[in-house]
Amino acid sequence: MPDLRSTPRPTLLSGARILDPSRDLDTHGDILIADGVIKDIAGNLKAAGLPDDTEIVDCRGLIAVPGLVDMRAFIGEPGAEHRETLASASQAAAAGGVTTIVCQPDTDPVIDDPAIVDFVLRRARDTAIVHVHPMAALTKGLEGREMTEIGLLQAAGAVAFTDGTRSVPSAQVMRRALTYARHFDALIVHHTEDAGLTGEGVMNEGELASRLGLAGVPRAAETIVFERDVRLAAMTGGRYHAASLTCTDSLDVLRRAREAGLDITASASINHLTLNERDVVGYRSFFKLSPPLRAEDDRQALVQAVAEGLVDVIVSDHNPQDVEVKRLPFSEAAFGAIGIETMLAAGLRLVNDGSVDLMSLVRAMSTRPAQLLGLEAGTLRPGRAADIALIAPDEAWILDAAMLKSRCRNTPFDEARFEGRVIRTLVAGCTVYEYV
């Protein structure tokens, strides 16, 4: 495991296509890295002379992008280390070009106390090979009743506030949190779901669920809560981010909120952008997600929203679950899929089929989340940390779940065909992953 605090040799990434959404930069050239930061980017840095011991990496045919920032990953440390540790998640992240993980607070104990934020940051510093930033709980114990110490948690290093996969049922609690958080300019991230309307639902409500005899989750269960939140954000002026929107009705609400000038942003998960409800046919529980995979027209609308920048962020929604809780009858199986390692490869499907350009994809996976969370990432600007993913865009490959670095194997992409993969990942100038 490379030590991020040591200073590696200067490195020249030579002859790459360089894509930096933070500056709308799309060019060919060299990137010089030294002391963990990007020193210079130019057409030909070799001609200008390099430090003596510079390692030159031939990057012809590769694309250098800012390392990805995954804004929604469920890890399991502390409390469920059998599912995933910060170390194993960071290995998976590095292999997927993700250089910053934003972990979720639904750990055991819950990240609702500054000491736990501190614990996670220290564990990450000692064991993880990429940057890790925790989100803290929005309400104590994720119980949806009393707000956490937003100011102290933020001071300890929490980058946003969320109740993870839980929705805050009380509009009053959400209103007060949005109001109070304004003082700290804290971002509130919310899983929008009406638990009563979801009920026993396990997949998208509709004809397919009816045919399979599975209880459905109506789209309205998401849209009703999102719409409520938009109104609360308008009342309070709080900064609000929808954790995972999935359907056209929610996108319409988002569009109207944006047009009204509200500070409302949203994520979509890579699963909802690349899969649909038909994938659950055969009762395939690895496709059982919350919120559920929707219909194909929802998926297409979501992709379009990413292409337009209406949906700001693409998240992996990485959620490791062991086989014991996944290989069960569909209605009894756990929700969730891993995804941090495959997020970029799956996202490249959208680029390859022409529905999203690469700049927009990288912006949604790196630059935007970094901006929303106030992180010094998501950019290749000289002077910034050299967090970089190198992509071979034409490399065709088939995913073998057994090769994944996560502790769990619940990927919806086993045996999926991909075109384009991460070849090398650098964190603060150190190579933390190399595909051989």
Binding site: G213, L214, F330
Partner: protein
């Protein structure tokens, strides 16, 4: 009459997991084969040797008296050794998963598993993990194929055909595997299907199943040849899906007055067990137009036909 005229009929599959995927020819083949077993079952000597030496395990994760005894009798009359395993929660409470159970049973080398489970898709999941034939005896709200086959056999014997009939399926469509399997089978054989239920007991997008949808029972029964009633589970009666038994019976319970809207020669069916005074009035259930007892008889014959047809594709057959 103990000859074997249709003994060559084979299902080109190892399991019977649902009506979905069966061709009309396969359905008719099973019905024709069932007719032979109806005759056999009315004789003194009811035994065949088709499954002699074979082991059939009835694995019921959900309690059932009639379906389980029907399968038990069917297996025994074909000469199988039949074992009943009521799993209802015992090993599940000990933490054993469905797949563990499947692996355990598989190691005992059964030839046929008859499985009922409360979760949709559970029987299919189990079937993927065993080497023997699996018959779905009901999975969640998904399918109950032998019920649909026995219903079709009952209809065909009384109406002489299925093609062109108008069938109303009435009651808790949303939670009913019987309704789903029947819709698929009746449509495959050319019947026209209506569903009649309070809107809260209709599955989402049910109209996309190619059925006519009614919530007014009287209009829904107009001109129908067959009225199929469904059981309403007790936990759905009191305010969750319908306000009360009283109100449900008033608007959707089949009594003689409502039945008069159907064709004069309409026949009444119910998969059992009936809630008298909830979805069906006793006068109708026991009346001249009722086929309910005949359905039970057909159940054994259909299950014998299914076992017989599957036995030909068993390993070592």
């Amino acid at each position: 009459m103990t000859s074997n005229p249709t003994a060559s009929f084979t299902l080109s599959r190892r399991h019977l997991l649902g009506i979905e995927g069966l061709s009309p020819e396969e359905i008719v083949g099973l019905l024709d084969l069932s007719e032979e077993f109806v005759i056999l079952n009315r004789q003194i000597e009811k035994k065949r040797a088709t499954l002699r030496g074979r082991t059939q395990i009835n694995l019921f994760f959900e309690a059932s008296t009639r379906t389980q005894s029907s399968f038990e009798l069917a297996g025994k009359r074909l000469g199988a050794d039949v074992m009943n395993m009521a799993v209802s929660n015992s090993s599940l409470k000990k933490g054993e998963t469905l797949i563990d159970t499947a692996a355990t049973l598989n190691a005992m080398h059964p030839d046929v598993l008859i499985v009922r489970h409360s979760a949709s898709g559970a029987v299919e999941l189990l079937a993927r993990k065993v080497d023997c034939a699996v018959v779905n005896a009901g999975d969640g709200a998904h399918e109950h194929p032998t019920q649909a086959l026995l219903d079709a056999l009952t209809i065909r014997r009384n109406k002489g055909r299925i093609q062109g009939l108008l069938v109303a399926i009435c009651g808790d469509i949303a939670h009913s595997r019987v309704a789903r399997s029947n819709i698929l089978l009746l449509q495959a054989l050319g019947a026209q299907v209506r569903v009649v239920a309070p809107p809260s007991l209709l599955p989402t997008d049910i109209e996309r199943f190619g059925v006519e949808v009614h919530s007014d029972m009287r209009r829904g029964l107009e001109d129908v040849d067959i009225v199929m009633m469904l059981r309403l589970q007790r936990e759905r009666m009191n305010g969750s899906y319908v306000p009360s038994v009283k109100e449900y019976f008033h608007f959707w319970g089949l009594d003689e007055a409502k039945l008069r809207h159907a064709r004069p020669d309409a026949l009444v069916m119910h998969p059992g067990p009936m809630n008298r005074g909830v979805e069906i009035d006793s006068a109708v259930a026991d009346g001249a137009q009722s086929l309910i007892r005949e359905q039970v008889e057909m159940g054994v014959a259909v299950r014998m036909a299914v076992l017989d047809a599957l036995s030909r594709t068993l390993p070592n057959a």
